[in-house]
Subunit: 525 residues, 2 copies
Amino acid sequence: MQPEGHHLIGRTITQGSGAPITALNPATGESLTPTWSASTLNDVDTACRLAEEACDAYRETSLEDRARFLETVAEEIDALGDALTERAVAESGLPEARIQGERGRTCNQLRLFARVVRDGNWLDARIDPAQPERAPMPRPDLRQRSIALGPVAVFGASNFPLAFSVAGGDTASALAAGCPVVVKAHNAHPGTCELIGRAIAAAVNRCNLPEGVFSLLYDADTEVGQALVSHPAIKAAGFTGSRKGGLALWNLAHTRAEPIPFYAEMSSINPVFVLPEALEARTKALAEGFVGSLNMGAGQFCTSPGLLIAREGPALNRFIEHAAQALKEQPAHTMLTPGIHKSYEQGAAALAGHPNVREIAHGETTSAPNACRPRLFITRAEAVLNDRALQEEVFGASSLIVECASQEEMRALARALEGQLTATLQMEEADHDDAAKLLPTLERRAGRVMANGWPTGVEVCDAMVHGGPFPSTSDSRTTSVGTKAIERFLRPVCYQDIPDALLPTALREGNPLSLTRLVDGQRAQ
Amino acid sequence: MQPEGHHLIGRTITQGSGAPITALNPATGESLTPTWSASTLNDVDTACRLAEEACDAYRETSLEDRARFLETVAEEIDALGDALTERAVAESGLPEARIQGERGRTCNQLRLFARVVRDGNWLDARIDPAQPERAPMPRPDLRQRSIALGPVAVFGASNFPLAFSVAGGDTASALAAGCPVVVKAHNAHPGTCELIGRAIAAAVNRCNLPEGVFSLLYDADTEVGQALVSHPAIKAAGFTGSRKGGLALWNLAHTRAEPIPFYAEMSSINPVFVLPEALEARTKALAEGFVGSLNMGAGQFCTSPGLLIAREGPALNRFIEHAAQALKEQPAHTMLTPGIHKSYEQGAAALAGHPNVREIAHGETTSAPNACRPRLFITRAEAVLNDRALQEEVFGASSLIVECASQEEMRALARALEGQLTATLQMEEADHDDAAKLLPTLERRAGRVMANGWPTGVEVCDAMVHGGPFPSTSDSRTTSVGTKAIERFLRPVCYQDIPDALLPTALREGNPLSLTRLVDGQRAQ
């Protein structure tokens, strides 16, 4: 199957009639065929109405049927074969092995959510039985479960054309929660979007679900996205991208007549704190690990280590030498889009021109289009403490080493950090006291705190948190990766004295779904 | 103990220096002593800084210590004796029995949250153990728990001077989650606030907690409240009150440099759908129950039945006659404040003057100050469908009966409703088919769906939801009553490869807290 320039509005697979959209191979600069036409505002309205029409039926599908649907989406993505990989490689400039891995992750993520749907703990079923004899007032029968918020809008990321895009984490968790999904395709990979969209639409069809469960729209600029977030039928939205884009849509979501939750995953510089004993004991290995992490995928990860904090002294000087040496040997990877490449060049140039920042090293220069030359900078802690601009994310393979005069200053820097997706400690056992003093601050500042690794690499599992305080995301109470993400798209409803025959199955007498339920304050099955 | 006109900033019990604040007995119109002075912006800053300083220590108190603290608050409130009841009666105009009941509920609520804290399920502990042999990439050790968001601002309600005020649901759930709390006292009951505040401060002291765990500020107008929501140390806020006040603060919470969750419980008209067989079978009992519910506490409940929807015809005509008769015999209860009384008069007058609304009956007239004469109006479904103004809450003992031409029109009306705290069905078994058609709509529109009762009366338990879609609250994903409220003030954090000695106790090997944890996808203890 090849993309045909179509958008998908329920089961209607057709061409849009708005402005043209064409994909580019960032590695060659060449245009790819076909051309899409942007969806119209009428298309947005149709997709959202279909989603609303599908909502009551879809959110009451049985756990087994919904889980099978998610698995069917994964099967249909598998069935796309090499055409998907080839298209995603051409549109993203990412290596084939990376796209293969991301494809596996995308399908595993759907299958993981199928497991979550089946076990039903997300329903958070609670029962407080009636106490008709209680004085002075009898207690009614009260039962609670979580239900789907309603149709969800998804805005995928450029940097994960599969795992954070049309069938990515937001779509998987929203569908798992029982929410129909309307996706706005990312213009950096419109063909990949269409192929994946067709796989989801095929699964909707195979599973006999209402067509409005899934639609895929295209936008030439921002009009379709804005209309989508503003549509009354949409009850929540997920976004992964820039702070500017995220905040603009977040603002719309909060100023519409009925404000809705808007989950934006935006920007993070992922500080790495190298504690003294670790710096001394593993100087070279740390320097090389750091450089490998910062240049991986041209640094185009939300969790790329953009800040490395260490104590000044001979060990740090040796670290810097090793890092500089390692960086000089690093290739320049192709960036995802000319726009991202341009932003990277501007951001890195701003750092280079900052009066308190010095460039330590840069990677190989190349004339290939959209190539990201990795760059490493250094500054002092007081400069970061005095200038918020030094905490701005430079999306790409750039990082800033921060020299601290003391462990006290390192802790002051931790306290001054904005919200982050991750915070990393490099430490030896002799550093544990220092680490213990930093940890309370780091867990207030970040969604994931890690030791002796690099932040790039986000496992999809129950315990993952890919989230964090503002501005890393718009809502620190949730995660966009891992099974807890299903909670984003749910709200609790209480049923008081509703006759058993009218209760949702999850709450009926006899526990027909064999759920673990909280009954009179005790977990019961 | 009597109130002394003090605010409480940590352990500093002192007079403010702002504009004067005096309480009023709404039943007599007389001023009460003493006089408070509003807190200053400097006081706000001090209270918030103390809260931030207390945060790391307080959020890491053991489950047992934190539960004991909540129980100690309840003990200290019990120890306030009759002085508290007398003051609350004088300030609210509510009957003594009601205040006694509310006082018991407030203490029970604190004790219920102590149970919740002890069982530790709110930590949502998850462990995905390392898989060092996994190919192509080993899996790190990943663990997750929920932590306190940080200091919380609480704005209590006028209509529950105990259960929704200084030591009410928001304070109890925030303290349970490990968040220090800064309360803005309600000016309708400043003395009650001070007494309760002293009880909490005494408990902080007895439990050797850092003083910043609790502060109580006073505001003459809106300056202190606005500064509180805007303070960088405050990481979430709870509010119960009017839509206007709630939205103004909600807006501030979302436009500050770091936006924060703002949980506003605002307005709801709590539709009651009387289905045909129930209307026929229980005409008189329903009419009397309805009138009793609407005039209870002068209708000053968030869940007062402001809309009753039924099919036109002889049964409804009989219902209306009975309701009118019952209403005429209803006394006029004192309202909480002159401001609320004035708003009620205006709102009821607007309904009375609406071209499509007719008054059916009103209660006894009295010359007592701030007395709420109950009023009952009628209109047709098409009028409500065509005019959003007829969905506006009139806070007080007023309700609007809506005549529908058909069950189809009743369902159309349900779909046109704004978000509600509750939706009620009055039904017999023969109404079940009708009810089943309404339920999917009602659970999308309301936080609590009930049968054959009246919405006034909110049980504090695990299964309660006192929340609902906008505009009944600002965030339908939560509840302000019941144990699930603890989740409002938590966020998940992931710990990757953190050495056991540095892990939070909840996540350590050997499960020292004996929690139920999700380990490798399975519940384990």
